[in-house]
Symmetry: C2
Subunit: 117 residues, 2 copies
DNA sequence: TGCACATATGAGCATTTATTCACATGAAAA
DNA sequence: TTTTCATGTGAATAAATGCTCATATGTGCA
């Protein structure tokens, strides 16, 4: 277990570092946070989420819109489900997906604003 | 080049799919978007960005706060720089980093809200 | 100049991840 | 029941990614 304490005793701004350390959140929070953003950090998934922000869609619809295999879409939908970003309802053979809340929409909106600068 | 057109002519909801296809953004926008979110989708980087949202910090400070090597931090800072998420100023031997705009802060804030549900 | 030190970077390695293929599941229709 | 079809999933593979180690860069100071 390395400590990287070379700098820790010389160059750092002790005050500032201590202050920021105090303000840091718990590891689980950061972990949760980065995992959520990771869901948005993929071209396929971000397109899927954007599409779902417009309409409820089945696997087949998404596959058609993104021009990807249904298997690929299904795999990604499972990830999104596990991260509580989408919900779904079954109707016969079909499964209809939609966003599980409005947070994703807001994040997407903010992201687009930033991207368009 | 597969077309996955099996479904395209049978099970899809043509109306809905066409509507959503019309509303989809350009590929460059989605690409930009997912790349930005990807920067937030890593435990180390999200911690770095959070820390930088509190104080301007040097490489050494960040390494100390995250308990990681300065090399690792430097590599990640380069990524963040390339994505215009952090800016830096040199002062002698030191390099001081800070967030390049408030968008990241807002995204982090929204992410935390969502994570805490 | 020459040394010390903070930061930057290239190569290598181990891990993660996105897609495909093949097959399983489950519901509707024949 | 048997068939069909939309969806779900495990295994495999190729690509991307994060860290480490070694080394380079560049600044301040003796």
């Amino acid at each position: 277990m390395k400590r990287y304490d070379v700098c820790e005793e010389r160059c750092i701004h002790e005050e500032t570092v201590r202050k920021v350390e105090d303000e840091m959140l718990g590891d689980e929070v950061f972990s949760h946070l980065s995992n959520d953003f990771k869901m948005l950090g993929d071209l396929t998934r971000v397109k899927m989420l954007f599409a779902l922000s417009r309409e409820e869609l089945c696997v087949c619809d998404l596959a058609s819109i993104l021009n990807l295999s249904e298997s690929a879409i299904s795999h990604q939908l499972r990830l999104l489900r596990n991260h509580n970003m989408v919900k779904f309802r079954r109707d016969g053979k079909m499964a209809y997906y939609s966003l599980s809340d409005q947070h994703v929409v807001q994040l997407l909106k903010m992201g687009v604003e930033h991207a368009q600068e």
